[in-house]
Structure formats: structure tokens, C-alpha cells
Subunit: 355 residues, 2 copies
DNA sequence: CTGAAAGCGCTTACAG
DNA sequence: CTGAAAGCGCTTACAG
């Protein structure tokens, strides 16, 4: 009796035969087990993809990848809400549902990487958008092994090279902010950064430094500090800057919420903005627009970043060839009312320029 | 060898043993085959029910009713984000998932009431939390007919009597705000309300009026206006109030975002807050805390409202007897830096009068 | 209508 | 890291 070489039934064993491995090996790959050589895993994954094999569960399960999960550290930052808005907008267009998840808020037993990844599969998610630094390499690895499309938005720590990510041109933004202040005539410009370990904060700092250096302005280390992306950090840094013998005439804050802290401390010390101190923020959230005075800020296309993240997921899911694993969207400076030329009569500023 | 009568693994075979039939017979019942005697089927069904047997597929597929849908008009208000935070918190505790939905953003064909309700059932949602006024009686009716638990949060329009709702003590909050201003010595107190049709805004207005009347202060109609819960409304009203022959010395704004508009216009016209004008907001969002100056505001327990809404859903789902269809949580006044006694010689008001 | 027997497809445990 | 063998839980085919 002739053996049918192209099995009509697409079983796990059939895939195994096709690849030339045993059924258990394919089973391991399908279930994301770790004890499979990378080369073997790759060949099996290719065959699974090519044949379109679905486990009995996948064949029967109802939810057909119509939902993405979005994970945030918290929803207390305007930043996160804007990104979420972008995701929601694209979800509406592409008829997807959005499941919201906040890290550190899991019930009783916090899920480990493997469980979390497995749950995502079991519940038929199309993928996951990560807007948190709480996901380490182990977590990302578990997703990758199970072929769950995943996109990291503006990662605080650089993600593994093969993980998709969406960000903004932080370096160019930092440069634009400092250039704006230089063009207004400022020379003593401080930078209040976010966490020194955060890629985005580093890039902003270096953009700022590049602008100063291009103008031949030395970077004064007393003018540069870092800390969390929070108002308290702005308050702290502003206090320190105002206590200097030769305080700056302008401040570039690494985020709008840091800038808000600067604003509050300026008011407490009766330093008028922009008359006595210019201030530029970063992010371009609504907060910047609505503050008093409205904040000049480097706007990140946060909604666009959210949209791109979901679009990335959808393209991965559809098996599209994706040339670049990183999308970097443009930032642009929005000039509002918190920046002005340094006062001519600002004796200390004048002295500094004349040096 | 003794047979274990209480099998540790709840397999189909175990159920078969319990009933005293073979595994194939139970299999047939589970799969709805016809070739089973009615009496046998009944006994098997009873055992399935009693033991709670689930097929491997059922065990793995999405646990039914593990997700609630939350619907917002938009995510652009701090108000909505706070409520969402509360929902998320309770969801984590009760191991539910949250599906986020923004009205007016549905794909191509906007769903009608019936389709929307049916879809919710088809996708196995536990219920829906509505934080939008976009759901009319028809929509609520469609949900009710299908017995989908639904809760309306702080409805702008009073919902049908039999719909569950969660709100805050708006009247008491309005009274507290006005009383605070009266106690500081103000007598000319304006109210800038939200939409006149909104229940919550009306309640705040009447609380304000009650406080004034209790002190024997007449309500000046020139001092009362309404509009949307947006900064623009605050700007508009503030302009009008400052143009009066006898402007107020204090303003009670119907929401923090209205108050933010007042603040911006005050700054533009060089009216210092609180020195020349006291200002009280409503909502107690982060915006109020972070504004310059920090805003005295009537705080609503927005997170608590979110938590309560989900709790309501869960109780309905569990078939609990619920005595009250309305939960009203307490508001409380948080005094910050935007209120102060009126100046003994209110120079500016005097000047305005003298013009 | 019932169930012993065979079978199916996947997974597990473990020897190499 | 791999896969032969055993096992698991369910289903199918069919004799009675």
C-alpha cells in the first residue's frame, strides 16, 4: 500500500515528519519548552508557519486574535495615557480590542514569565504592547519562544536586539530644545534629566550637549543632574540650581512633569518664568499646554507611537516581512510661553556672556 | 485492590466510573450525540454538573466572564483616567480583565444597541461599565433585556430608574466649597457650572446656593453660568465675571478643568490667585494638585467610584441580592493654595468699579 | 443503546 | 538536546 506523502491531516506528527524530527520535539516547540536547540526550533517554527499547523485547541478556540494586551507601569502619567490613546485609535480602525493591564497589580500570585506568556496564548491574544520597564529579558524571551508578537514602546532599558520597539528621536529633540534656548540668547542652560540609566534620557542629554558644543558653549557639570521623571525631581533640581553662585538663565527639563516641578518651585521662590528663567519641557503632553504659563516643550508623537506599536503587532501577526525592528518617530519643538530671551538687565547673565 | 471512589483527576473516565457507565457513553453525552438513552443521558448530565467536569478544551479556553468592558467618551480627561485606575485596581484584586473601549471610535460600521449588546454576550463579557453619556435609553434597554450587568458612572443624564449607577455627593460637595469661601469672608461668590442638563452640575449648583442662603447671602444671577466641563468654559466665564461692574471675590468652578481655564485667564489679566481672587475646583484630580497655585478643590473619590462600579458588576454577576441601585460616595474639600480671605481693600475690584 | 477494543493526537519521563 | 517508549484522555468503529 502506497504511503501518502502529503498527509491530508495536518497533525503534529506530520509536521515532525516534514522537518525530519520526532513528534515530541515538535510538541516542545509548539509549547514553548526550553529544551530544544535553537537551530532545531527555527526549522520547526518555519515548518509550522509554512504548513499553518494549529493545535486542536487553536483550531477549536473561538477568540481569533482579536485582542491585544497593553501593559503599563501605571496610568498616572500623561505620557502613558497619550500612548494608550494612540493604541485605542488604531484599534478602532483595525477592529481590535484592547485589554489593559497594569504591572504590579496582578492578583495573589504574580505570574512568572512563562505563565504570563502561556496565558496570553491560551486567551488568544494577537500580541502585547509593553509600555513598562518591568519586563526583563526573561519575559521577552518567553514571548519570543512562543511566537507572540510583542512591541516595546520607548524602552527605558534597551531591549534585546531582536525585539520590536517604537520610540522617538530623543537626541534630535534634546538638540532642538537647547538650540531654541541658545537662539534666544541664553548661554547658561541647565539640563534636568530623567533616570541616568534610561536610554531616552541619555539621548536627550547628548542632544543638549551637542547643541551647546556646536555654539562653543561649555557644558557646566553643575548645570546637569538626573533623577526620576517626576515633579519632585524638578523641585529638587530647581532648588539646587537657584542656590548656585551663578545660576542658569534657562532650564531644559527632561520631561514635562519634571518641568512642572520646576515651575512650582520657581513660583515658590518668586522666580518669574519666562522673564527671569526660561524653561523647556519634553513630551508635549496636555499638561504642558495647560500649565501656567503654557510650557515650551519638545513634543513626542505619543499617539503616533501608540498607533505604530499596534500596527507593528498586526503586521507581525499577518506574517509580513518587516525590514526594521525599530521605528523612531520625529519629535518637534513647540514654542509656547515659558521661554524668552534672557533679560538684558539680568546682570549675572550679562556678565556670563561677556566672559 | 480498592477502587478510589473520589478520583483526584476529574477525567471523563472518572465521571463514567461515578455514574457506572463507560467512558464512550459519557463522551457521547458531552458531545451531544443522539445515540444515548434519555435516562442514561440524564444521569450523566447530572454527574457532569455535580462534578463540574470540563473537557480539556473548556479547561483551556478563556474562562467565561473574566472580562469587563469599560466605555469612555474619551481618555482626554483626568477624570476618566482616575475612574479607570479604580476599575483596574479592583480588577487586579478580583482577577478580572479590563477591555477598554472609546465611544465614537468604532470601526467602519458603528454598532447599534442590539448588535453591541449581542457582541458583549458572544464574547463572554461579565458586564459593562459606562462612563459616557453616549449611551441612551435604547442602549441600556438592550443590555437589560439580555441581562448583561451594567453600571453607569456619574451619569450626565439621569439613567432609567432600574439601572445601577455610581456617583458622588455632588450637592454636599457644592455646599462644602461655598461654605469654605463664606468662612474665609467672601460674600461675592460666583459659580461656573458644567452643562446645565447634567445632574451632577445641577447638584453642585444647588449645594452652592444652599450654602449662600444659609448665610443669608443672595444668589446673584450674574455670578452663575454654565457650559461644558472644559478649560474654555472657565476662560469664557472668567472674562465675563471680570467685566462685571462688581466682580466676585471668589469663584467656585464646577470642575478642575474649568478652574484651570479660570486660572489661565486670571494670569492673562494679571489677577493674582488667591490674593485677588479665590478659586475652588471640583473633582480633585492630579491636575488640581499640580497646578500653580495648587487648587483648593472638592475631591471626588474617583478611584473608589471605579472600584465600586466593578464591584457592582461582580455582585450582579454572582446573582447577589442588591438592595440599592445607586451608590453615592462622599466628596470632601481639600484646601490648597488657591483660596484666601478677600483683601480688606480689594484694590482691583475697587478699580474695576471706578472705571 | 451500550461498551470493549482500537485508535488518535499529543505529552511526559527518561535513557542516551 | 533528542527521540523511543509509555502514557493520557478522549473518540471512533462496531459487535452485541
Amino acid at each position: 500500500m502506497e504511503r501518502d506523502l502529503r498527509p491530508s491531516k495536518l497533525t503534529l506528527a506530520a509536521v515532525a515528519a516534514e522537518v525530519g524530527v520526532s513528534a515530541p520535539t515538535v510538541s516542545k516547540v509548539v509549547n514553548g519548552r526550553e529544551d530544544v536547540a535553537e537551530a532545531t526550533r527555527a526549522r520547526v517554527l518555519a515548518a509550522l508557519q509554512r504548513t499553518g499547523y494549529k493545535s486542536p485547541l487553536q483550531r477549536k478556540s473561538i477568540p481569533e486574535h482579536r485582542a491585544v494586551e497593553v501593559v503599563f507601569d501605571s496610568l498616572n502619567s500623561a505620557y502613558g495615557v497619550e500612548v494608550l490613546n494612540g493604541v485605542m485609535e488604531h484599534a478602532a480602525v483595525s477592529d481590535m480590542e484592547v485589554i489593559l493591564s497594569i504591572t504590579g497589580r496582578q492578583a495573589g500570585s504574580p505570574l512568572g514569565p512563562e505563565e504570563r506568556a502561556q496565558r496570553l496564548i491560551d486567551e488568544g491574544r494577537a500580541g502585547m504592547i509593553v509600555v513598562t520597564s518591568a519586563f526583563g529579558a526573561a519575559q521577552l524571551e518567553a514571548f519570543k519562544r512562543r511566537q507572540i508578537p510583542i512591541v516595546v514602546v520607548d524602552p527605558l532599558n534597551p531591549p534585546p536586539a531582536d525585539v520590536f520597539s517604537v520610540g522617538a528621536s530623543n537626541w534630535a529633540g534634546g538638540k532642538a530644545a537647547a538650540t531654541h534656548l541658545l537662539e534666544l540668547g541664553h548661554r547658561r542652560i541647565a539640563y534636568i534629566g530623567g533616570p541616568s540609566t534610561a536610554e531616552c534620557s541619555q539621548a536627550r542629554l547628548h542632544g543638549y550637549m551637542a547643541a551647546l558644543m556646536a555654539e562653543g558653549v561649555a557644558v557646566d557639570h553643575e548645570y546637569v543632574s538626573d533623577g526620576p521623571f517626576k515633579p519632585e525631581n524638578g523641585v529638587r533640581a530647581m532648588k539646587a540650581l537657584l542656590a548656585l553662585d551663578n545660576p542658569p538663565t534657562a532650564i531644559f527639563a527632561g520631561s514635562d512633569s519634571i518641568a512642572l516641578g520646576v515651575l512650582a518651585e520657581a513660583r515658590r521662590q518668586n522666580v518669574r518664568i519666562p522673564e527671569e528663567m526660561s524653561l523647556v519641557g519634553f513630551d508635549g503632553t496636555h499638561q504642558a499646554e495647560e500649565s501656567v504659563p503654557p510650557l515650551t516643550s519638545v513634543s513626542q508623537p505619543l499617539q503616533e507611537m501608540g498607533r505604530s506599536a499596534l500596527s507593528f503587532i498586526l503586521r507581525q501577526k499577518n506574517g509580513e516581512e518587516i525590514d526594521s525592528r525599530r521605528v523612531e518617530l520625529a519629535t518637534h519643538l513647540v514654542v509656547r510661553e515659558s521661554t524668552a530671551p534672557p533679560r538684558a538687565s539680568n546682570a549675572r547673565a550679562a556678565a556670563a556672556v561677556e566672559d
